[in-house]
Every structure is written in structure tokens, then in C-alpha cells.
Symmetry: C2
């Protein structure tokens, strides 16, 4: 039974070379091979089984996670995996653990070798987004050449750091540096939390887990923790002194290392988040697409089979834009890797000119791609009807584990406001001759973008990348200009910014959508081998752009970038594009090359044998251990036998 | 500490009479009193505690649910509660149990008295939305005067019915009626599943739970079940014979009871779903609003307190429309109660004329209000930043338990397509002199709606209900007309409907939004006592309408209902309205009168003592039972001590 491929027919319909598309998706043949090898390694190892994860208690789940983390570590050593391979392997294990925290590798080389386990303790009960408001103090004691780390208030308790609650032995603690009577703002300090002998918390340290989070499995495998300090002393050299230092005498010295340096790390981290977004989105889309081809409902003619729900235009109009977005985010993620390399190179050459733009760009893309992905996972679940609500559809857990990315590494709204601020600054400098760079370069063509008119006359005109690009550029630019104009009416610019912030958010989103689309077009300008591969990517690129145009029609029309008639033509073209995606849909998600293990979804399994598997999985629920449920005698039988009722009435 | 009210200042700011608003929200003074009494009854009873719910295993959760259900039943009897009081009490228990399944009360009076426990077994593995495609068979055997109930295929297994898996003794089973060689389509049959003595499944019955669903607590308290029949025999009189009958001789007879009768039940059930939507939405909004007033981030001036995040315009623009929607859904839910009464009365008088319209209207409102509510709960969670991701924020569980309402009692997309079909029919009959009724009556003013122009010139013109109403009517009507026009271009109307279905969805949504808004206006035309109460409701009504206008600006502008300039003015007015909501926000959510028990949220607690409670709750996680976690010795220490590494390298 399992040998049958229920999707065989679908797979035959594909109009492109799957193997080449897999390579495009992976980024290169080498990436593809590593990724494929690591995925299979994890999938075939019984220690990494995860099908019973949602049924484990918190304690068992946590222990299971430690076991998997140790096993992954062991395999990495045994197989002498490269850093890249190790990263892939861990990501296919797909169970957040202390060993997955990216910054390890960057910040604490010693920690990477795991002589200590570190965590990143910035957020407090009272402060997350506003890092400058943190309350933990690090007071220099010149007598002993030490810092005294202290939690002066309840709200100063560290709260959220992953790995902190139960496993970390050390933390990078962000605290207000105090020398004498002076507060020098927030700096980082390395603090040991637990004994390396028996793991017990050191004197003055209170540490624990902050409790259950969204979902049953999901992020509950991670010990996000709380931490309080009661005058804990650390040597002076445990301050992170790259940007500022405290001397033996207690003098505070700013180094001449520019503050923008920290942007480099941010660009790195956010770039990984964008590329993770494309993975998560692809995963949800893969499940929903495969199931939509298996699921049949209505439309049977003369007793023949019913219609596959993927053939309904509403299903297509909900699903295919998400498929297109997965590819779009993939390519912009790839480009961000290049951007990070570029930024790093420039930093080494002391060229900081592109940093603010790179920073705004990654902030915006982090925000936009994670918000879209979070919503998309839930939409994919809904696309699966009732069965999507079962844990074994894989979608509930994917949602629960994914959504915090909208909050951590910068709240998505706070980030978009930063982008908007950068856009307003860029606009305000347009007159001054300072040329906008990078992803804001289009703003240099101000005059053209303010007056250009879209020339679409027939639906097929909407297939020209240059036409769509101009519409997106004009829309983004005109929205920024409109905001700037409205801002100028306020006497207090900060007050104006705050008052108009909802509009500014929308301008920032328009800008980010433009970036994603334009990077997709750039990708298409490359040489892409393989029969039909480029053609498919072009179709998806158009789906990506035109669905956004339809969704934000108000933006495009009210800024006179397009006419209502042109909007209707775009919509017509979009429908035609869906029909072109349809025969290729299954193969387009096959290109993600996800194993059934990684997908963790009965509905999304490769061979489409959905019903058999749903039925088999059901019996594994602990509730089915007995035919008569625990509690029947005490709580159900008395009601049935009316004992309660008759006793009183 | 707990005595302090952190919201006292906020509560003093309110510009209206809270007690009167509570009555408006509850629908009447009597409703308010019942609801208040039941909420307190539940909150004060230790059996109904639910704060550890997300930490229970599936089995323990299920047993806990049976215990609560039995206890609720006991209290209902002891206190001789009315049906209405009993319903309220159960809903405040807030843990889905077999005793909550509405149809009990309607369909099986015997079951209400609990001599049996029934469930509604319609959906199968292979068929949900398409009821006519069900595969279970009920074959009449004239020899024994029995029906033979059978599951001929894997996909015919019953799947999803609540209460089926572990507790139901009986089920209303939907199956294809076969007499002789004839298939008469799907009918209902009452089938006993389990022994009333020892609860064991009867011969030929395979029954069990279908497994874990979204979330950790949430709907996992319910035993949604699977069921297979192996030639199970039931007496002929166990067919539900209201609409059709089978005679002793095996003759199939259609009664003259009109088929529309079933619409009556649908109107009833969907009306309760709409009113539940307003409750769930209000709950999420209450949590997010209270926390947004406690949470301060950024904006400290000279060391003073930071800005409450509720003062940020972006926070307001995300939150206040949801607050307004909660009130709007409340009022449309109230109106639906009237509609149901009206429909029932007409049915008794054999007047079926309004049924199709009532059916389309409730289908649309069910779809629209549940989709908005589901998304809104997640938005409220995001509005709480990192802490919203903790289970004890109450929002994750609320989301997980709420979202299946988008799927059950009709998939929301399938329902909207039904609405669209009804709209197209109404439009096609406009010429024929048949006057559209009820919520489609506005279509009778076709000529006016096709040519009217919005007369807004200044932002404050957008405060006139008649102005907004006309814009909403014109937009909905013109979208329907545009769809009808495009449909007429297809030679095959069904093919056209399917091809244009994404546009038809949008037209249906526009129609539903109009209904909600117009019922809100009707509510405001009533006499509403209490200082400032009506004023607040007017402000929220305008927020509701103008945020939709902004969100769907493309619809309004491309149909020439409003100009871009007028759209901008609406947006300006919306911002001003937010400022008017702001001082009343906390009191507007107090008006929901939710107990801390029901809210189940550390972030949303009445007195706002958020940080203290977060800190205390954390320690209750089982992971904190020991300082050194289970698994440390086996899986963490060896890594730290480099045993694995050095062993191999
Ligand atoms: C799963 C998870 C893992 C985490 N891991 C770590 C970790 O390892 N280490 C660590 O230090 N931290 C960690 N965090 C914490 C995380 O970084 C913060 O939660 C995040 O920065 C958001 O901050 P916040 O919670 O203070 O949100 P808040 O800032 O309180 O946000 C609340 C609301 O206020 C709004 N808001 C805030 N400021 C503004 C403004 N200026 N203008 C307009 N609106 C505003 C937000 O948009 C949001 O709607 C983690 C969090 C989670 C959920
Ligand atoms: C928590 C829960 C409780 C439930 N309780 C019960 C119960 O007590 N008793 C019972 O009998 N059932 C119950 N159900 C089942 C429920 O009624 C069905 O899941 C629901 O009717 C949806 O049907 P489906 O699952 O077949 O979805 P599908 O119809 O398979 O939907 C899959 C996708 O196809 C799309 N689609 C389907 N048809 C069309 C079409 N014609 N045009 C366009 N798109 C289409 C849908 O929009 C959706 O995106 C329950 C379900 C849940 C989740
Ligand atoms: Ca659990």
C-alpha cells in the first residue's frame, strides 16, 4: 500500500526539470547535496523521531530534546561534519534546543566547542524592544577590580533568553554600566551562572524556566529562562569591551570602533531569519499543496471522482501566492547572504557608507517575510479543512514554533518603523544631492517616478517585468513622498512621526515588497539551466507581484500608479497565471526536497497516502490505550444513571 | 500588593457610565445579572480551576474535563438553574466537553436529560464539506425491518464528531439510505454505540479518539472521534423520519415537509457561533488592551516613566478596530437572535419566503465573524510582544481552541461561495420585479446605488452614518454587479462561477461587512441610556466602518464609490477617532465583565499586576521542580566535559 504514489499522475504533469529546480531552490548543487545528505541522515536515525512529540509532557519533551541535541552533537563529531553540514543537520532535527542558538558560533568560540553553554540574556520582564531601558546594573567596584551584577527590581529580572532556564552555564548579560555615580548605558558582560561540576546555580543567582509557551511541542523544547542577580561579582575583564572599556581605575573609555559595527551582526542574524522564513513557508505550502491534490470534494460527474480541491480557483488564489512567496523569499534570502558578505568586506575596509541602508533593508525584510510566513502557515492549515487542525497535519506545531520570529530579534512593527524612519530620511536628503544607495536607489529617479503612468492596455501587458517594477517603484515612492508631505505639516517632527505612524508602516511595507520583487527579477536575469525551470520561476514571479498588486490595489490606484481598469486586467492575468501554475504545483513543492520526517505531516507525505496514515496515527493517542476512558466510572456513569439528578429532584 | 489597581488611573479617565455599558454588552439587565452570577459561580469554585491546564497530559486533561462536566451538571441540578443559566455556566467553565455540544438540546431531548450521551456523526475521513458525498451506508433489510449500517471503505470512517471518541453512547449517524438497489442519498439514523452498562462498544462498532489537535489544552479536552460499522443492525424506527420515511415494506417516501426546514436549525446554530465570536474577540481584545496600558516601552522623558504602548498610534490602529469589531459582532449577533425568532415564527406559519435570504445571511456572518476573530486573536497576541507567547497570557490557548470555528459548521470559504451564489441570483432577478428582501433589500435601489457619488469634503463628513452607509451599499452592490457582468461573458455559467470565484468571495465579504455595519447603525437608533454610553458606541461604530474602508480602499475607489482624496480624509478621521477611544479603552473592555478566571490571562488580569504574576506563575512549571534538569547527567554533562569530542578526535 505504502509503495503506491498517489501523486504519480500529478508528477507526470510537470513541465520542467525537477532536479534542476531542486538545485535552484538549494542555491547551488553543493548546497543541494549537503542538504539532501543531512536530511536523509536525520530522517533515517531513530533517535530523531518526532511523531510523538505533541504527546509528551513538558519534562519528557525537554529531556527528549537534550537527548537529541547530544546525539546530534555526537554525530557531528563522529562524521567530522563541516560547520555548514552541522547547521543543516541541526535544522533538520527540527526541535529547538540550546545548541541551535545562532549567536553561539559568532560570539563565543569557546562555547561552540561546548566547554561552557552560553545564552544571550538581554530581555527583561519589563524591557524587550527598548534595550536602553534595561534595569539590571553592573557597578564597577574599584576596590576589587570587579563588576557587581544586580537585579534591583522585579521588572529587571532577565526573562526569555533561550537556553537560560535549565542548561546554560554562562550568559552574556546586558546591564547598565555604573562607575562611580555615573550611568554609561547598557553593555554586555559574561557571567557564569552554574557550577561546571554539578550544574547548581552559583551563589546570588536565581534561575529557572519561564513556563509553557504556545503549542504542545513547538518551542516548549527550549528552556527560555528567568534570571535574577543578588550582587554577583565578576572580574573586570568579563565585560565585552569591543566598543567601550572600563580601566583598572574605573574610568569609562569609548573606543573609536564605530557603533555601526553591531549592525554587522544584525545583518547576519536577520539574513538567517529571512532564509528560515522561506523554509518554513515552503514547508507549510508543501503540505497544503500535496493535500489539496489528494483531497476531493464536490463536483463528481456521473459517479466519477470528485474535484481535487486544488482545482478550485479560490483554493488556488489562496495557495499559489504563498507558493510564489516561498520562492520569492528564498531568492531575497540568497541575495541577503551576498549583502552580508558585502557589508563584512566593507567593514574590514572601514567603509560604513552602506551600513544604514543595509540595516534598514534587513530590518524590513525580517519583518515582512516573518509576518507573511506566520499568516501563511495558518492559511495553509485552513486550506486543509478539518484535518489541518490535527497535530499530525504538522501545521499547528509549525505555526506555534514559527510565530515568535515575528517578535524576537526585533518586534516586526518596531522594525518597520525603523525602516520608515530611514525612508523619510532618504526622502528628506533627495534635494541635497546625496544619492540614495542600494535598495533605495530607485528614489534617485524621483521625477520620473512621480509622473510615470502605467501603460498596460491588455492583461498580457502585465507579464512584463519592467512594467510591474515601475508600478511597484512608483507606488512605494509616492507613498513615501505622501508621508513626508504630511509629516511636514507638523511643527514637531517626532509628534508627526508618531501621529502618522500607521501610514508610515504601510509605506515601509510597500518598500519591502518592492525589494523582494526586484531581487526576484534580478535572479531571473541570471542564467538558469534546466528544461522549463526559468519559465516556471517567471510565472511564480508574476504571481508574486500581481497578487500583491491586487491585495494592495488601494495603494496603487490612489497614488495614480495604475488605473482601476489596469487593476482589473492584472486580476484577470493573475487568474490565467494560476492555471499555468496548477499542473506544476506538486512538482514545484517537490523541489523543496523535504523528507517526510522533516515535514512531519500526515497530510503532506510524499506519496499522498493520507487517509491510511491518518487512520493509523489516530490509534497511537494515549486516550486510545483503553476502550473505556479513565474517569468513566467517577464522572460519566453517575450522570448516565441519573444519580445526581434523582438525588435532588 | 494584589489589592493595588494598576489600572485605577485609566479607569478614572472613562467618559461614560460603565454599569450601563455592561448592560448594553450583555443585551439586557437580566442577561447581565445571569451572566455575572454564573461567571462568579464558576470563578469561585475550585473544581473549575484551569490555570494548570496546558501542563496536563492528554489523558489527565480529558479526565479533568469529565470531572468538570460532571461537576457543572451537578451544580446545574443542585441550583435548579434555568436552561439559559446552565448554558452560561458551561460557557464560563471554558473547557470544551461533550456536554457543550449545542445540538443536544435541540435534537435529542432524551439526551439532554442525559440518560444517553449523543453525538453528531456526519463528517467522514473522506467527506466534510460535501455531505452528499458521504459513503457510510444504511441498507434496509425488509426481512427483519432493520437498517444495516456499514462502513464500506476506509474513507467512509466517521471522523471528527465531538464526544464520539470516548463518551458517547449514541450517535446520529448520517449515511446513504439504500432500499433494494436504490440509493436515496444521505439521511440521519440514531445508532447506539456503547453498552449502557459497562460502556464497552457494541458488536460491529469500532470507535476511538482521532488524536491530538492544535494547542496543548484547547480542544484536546474533547474526544473528537472515529467510528466504523461492520454491518450494525438498528430498528427501522431509528431513522430520523421528519423529511423522508421508509415504510415497513421498504418503500421510500418523501414527506411534504419542505426541505428548507433544516435551514431553521442552521440559522440557530450559526447565530450562536456569531455571538460566540464576539465573546472570543472581546476576550482577546480585553487582554491586549489591559496589557497595552500596563506595558511601557520607550519614550521616557528626563527619567520619567516610559510611554504606555497603548499610546502608540500603530498599537491603536491594530487594536481599536478589533475592539470596535467586538461590539459590532455583538450587536449583529443580537440581531441574529431576532432573525432566528422571526424565521421560526414564519416556519410555523408555513411562510418560507425569507428563508433563503436568512440562510445566506447567517452563512455569511458566520464566515466573516469567525475569520476576523481568529485573525484578531493572533493579532492581539502579537500586540502583547514577547509575553503574549507564554501560555499564561491566555492568548495561545484561546487561538487554538477558537480557530476550528472557521472550519466546522461549514468551511468559511465554502459558505462565502454560497453567499455569492445567492447574491448573483438576487442580482439576476432585479429586472424581474422580484423585490430583494431583508439584508439584500438595498439592492432594490439599484439605480441610485450605481450612480450615487460620495459627498465627503472634509474629514468630519465621514462621521455621518448615512454617508458611510451609502458608500458601503454602493461598494457592495457595484462589486456584485461587476461579478454578474463578468459572469455573463461565460457561455457556461457554472464554469464562469468557478473561474471568477475569488472575485465572488470579495463581493460576498463586502456584502457581509455592510450587514454588520448597518445592524450597528440600527442599534444606535435605539434608545440607549447611561451617561456617554451612546457616544462611545457611536465612536466605535465609526472606527469599525472607517477601518474597513481603509483596509478595502481598493474596492471603494475602483468602483468609484469614493475618490482617493475622500479615502485620505477617512483615514485622517480614523486617526482622530482613535484618540477619542484611547481614554475609554480600558473601561470599554471592563464592560465585557469578564472575570480573571474566565480570561485566564496573567497579562489581562483586572488589576494589571502583570509582572508579579508572570514571575509567580513561572515557578509552577514542572521543569522548575528541580534545579538541575532531568537529562543533565546523561546528555549535557558529557558534552560539557567533552567526552564525546575527545573520545573521537
Ligand atoms: C520565543 C522567544 C525567544 C526569545 N529569546 C530571547 C533570547 O534568547 N534572549 C533575549 O534577550 N530575549 C529573547 N526574547 C525576547 C524578545 O527579544 C523580545 O520579546 C522582543 O524583543 C520583543 O520585545 P517585547 O517583548 O518587550 O515587546 P514590546 O516592546 O513590549 O511590544 C509590545 C507591543 O508594543 C509595541 N511597541 C513597542 N515599542 C513600540 C514603539 N516604539 N512604537 C510602536 N509600538 C511599539 C509592539 O509593536 C508590540 O505590539 C525571546 C522572545 C521569544 C518570544
Ligand atoms: C474541532 C472540530 C470539530 C468538529 N466536530 C464535528 C462534529 O461534531 N460532527 C461532525 O460530523 N463533524 C465535525 N467536524 C468536521 C467539520 O464539520 C468538517 O471538518 C468541516 O465541515 C470541513 O469539511 P472538510 O474537513 O471536509 O474540509 P474540505 O471540504 O476538505 O476543505 C478543504 C479545502 O477545500 C476547500 N473546498 C472544499 N470544497 C470547495 C468548493 N466547493 N469550492 C471551493 N473550495 C472548496 C475548502 O475551502 C478548504 O480550503 C469537526 C471538525 C473540527 C475541526
Ligand atoms: Ca502536553
Amino acid at each position: 500500500m505504502e509503495a503506491l504514489d498517489y501523486h504519480a499522475e500529478e508528477r507526470r504533469k510537470a513541465e520542467f526539470d525537477l532536479e534542476e529546480m531542486k538545485i535552484v531552490w538549494a542555491g547551488s548543487r553543493q548546497n543541494y547535496e549537503i542538504s539532501d545528505r543531512m536530511a536523509r541522515l536525520v530522517a533515517s536515525d531513530p533517535v530523531f523521531r518526532k511523531d510523538n512529540r505533541t504527546m509528551l509532557s513538558r519534562k519528557d519533551l525537554f529531556k527528549d530534546t537534550l537527548r537529541k541535541a547530544a546525539h546530534a552533537w555526537k554525530r557531528i563529531i563522529e562524521l567530522r561534519l563541516s560547520e555548514e553540514e552541522a547547521h543543516m543537520l541541526r535544522s533538520y532535527v527540527d526541535q529547538p534546543a540550546f545548541t541551535d542558538l545562532h549567536w553561539h558560533e559568532k560570539w563565543l568560540p569557546m562555547a561552540y566547542k561546548m566547554q561552557i553553554i552560553g545564552c544571550y540574556a538581554q530581555t527583561e520582564l519589563g524591557h524587550g524592544s527598548n534595550v536602553q531601558g534595561l534595569e539590571t546594573t553592573a557597578t564597577f567596584d574599584p576596590q576589587t577590580d570587579e563588576f557587581v551584577i544586580h537585579s534591583p527590581t522585579l521588572t529587571s529580572s532577565k526573562w526569555w533568553p533561550g537556553g537560560l532556564g535549565k542548561v546554560s552555564t554562562h550568559a552574556v548579560v546586558y546591564a547598565r554600566l555604573i562607575t562611580g555615580a555615573q550611568d554609561h548605558g547598557v553593555h554586555g558582560f559574561i557571567v557564569q551562572l552554574r557550577s561546571l561540576d554539578d550544574h547548581s546555580p552559583l551563589p546570588g543567582i536565581t534561575v529557572g524556566d519561564i513556563g509553557m509557551k504556545f503549542g504542545s511541542g513547538a518551542y516548549n523544547s527550549m528552556d527560555n529562562g528567568l534570571l535574577r542577580f543578588d550582587h554577583v561579582r565578576i572580574p573586570r575583564n568579563q565585560m565585552l569591551m569591543r566598543v567601550s572599556q572600563v580601566t583598572r581605575e574605573g574610568k569609562f573609555v569609548q573606543s573609536d570602533v564605530p557603533r555601526q559595527l553591531v549592525y554587522g551582526t544584525m545583518v547576519y542574524v536577520r539574513q538567517t531569519i529571512v532564509s528560515d522564513a522561506s523554509c518554513a513557508l515552503a514547508r507549510a505550502v508543501c503540505i497544503a499543496t500535496r493535500y489539496s491534490a489528494v483531497r476531493r470534494q464536490f463536483g463528481s460527474q456521473n459517479g466519477g471522482p470528485e474535484t481535487q480541491v486544488i482545482d478550485y480557483k479560490t483554493q488556488q488564489s489562496r495557495l499559489f501566492p504563498l507558493l510564489a512567496s516561498a520562492y520569492a523569499f528564498r531568492f531575497v534570502g540568497e541575495w541577503l547572504k551576498w549583502l552580508y558578505a558585502d557589508v563584512t568586506q566593507r567593514l574590514q575596509a572601514n567603509d560604513f557608507s552602506t551600513l544604514p541602508e543595509a540595516h534598514a533593508c534587513t530590518a524590513g525584510l525580517k519583518s515582512m517575510t516573518t509576518s507573511v510566513t506566520a499568516d501563511a502557515i495558518e492559511e495553509c492549515r485552513k486550506l486543509c479543512g478539518g484535518h489541518g487542525y490535527l497535530s499530525n497535519s504538522g501545521l499547528p506545531e509549525l505555526f506555534a514554533v514559527y510565530i515568535p520570529t515575528c517578535t524576537y530579534e526585533g518586534d516586526n512593527v518596531v522594525l518597520l518603523l525603523q525602516v520608515a524612519r530611514f525612508l523619510m530620511k532618504t526622502v528628506s536628503q533627495l534635494g541635497s544631492g546625496k544619492k540614495p544607495v542600494g535598495t533605495t536607489a530607485y528614489m534617485g529617479r524621483a521625477e520620473h517616478l512621480m509622473q510615470c503612468r502605467c501603460e498596460v492596455e491588455r492583461a498580457e501587458d502585465w507579464l512584463k517585468p519592467s512594467v510591474i517594477l515601475e508600478a511597484f517603484e512608483a507606488r512605494a515612492f509616492r507613498m513615501s513622498i505622501a508621508c513626508a508631505k504630511n509629516l511636514s505639516k507638523f511643527s514637531n517632527p517626532e509628534g508627526g512621526f508618531s501621529e502618522l505612524s500607521p501610514d508610515l508602516l504601510e509605506a515601509a511595507i510597500a518598500h519591502c515588497q518592492l525589494i523582494v520583487f526586484s531581487k526576484y527579477i534580478e535572479k531571473l536575469q541570471q542564467d538558469i539551466p534546466g528544461k522549463g525551470v526559468k519559465r516556471q520561476l517567471e510565472i511564480l514571479c508574476n504571481v508574486y507581484a500581481l497578487h500583491l498588486l491586487h491585495k494592495h490595489l488601494g495603494d496603487f490606484v490612489t497614488t495614480s500608479c495604475i488605473t482601476p481598469k489596469q487593476g482589473a486586467l492584472a486580476n484577470e492575468q493573475l487568474r490565467l497565471l494560476y492555471s499555468q501554475v496548477r499542473p506544476n504545483a506538486i512538482t514545484l513543492v517537490d523541489a523543496f526536497n523535504y523528507t517526510d520526517h522533516y515535514l512531519g505531516s500526515v497530510l503532506g507525505c510524499y506519496n499522498g497516502n493520507v487517509y491510511q496514515r491518518l487512520y493509523e496515527e489516530a490509534w497511537k493517542d494515549p486516550l486510545n490505550d483503553t476502550v473505556v476512558p479513565d474517569g468513566y466510572l467517577e464522572y460519566v456513569r453517575p450522570i448516565l444513571k441519573q444519580h445526581i439528578r434523582t438525588a435532588r429532584l
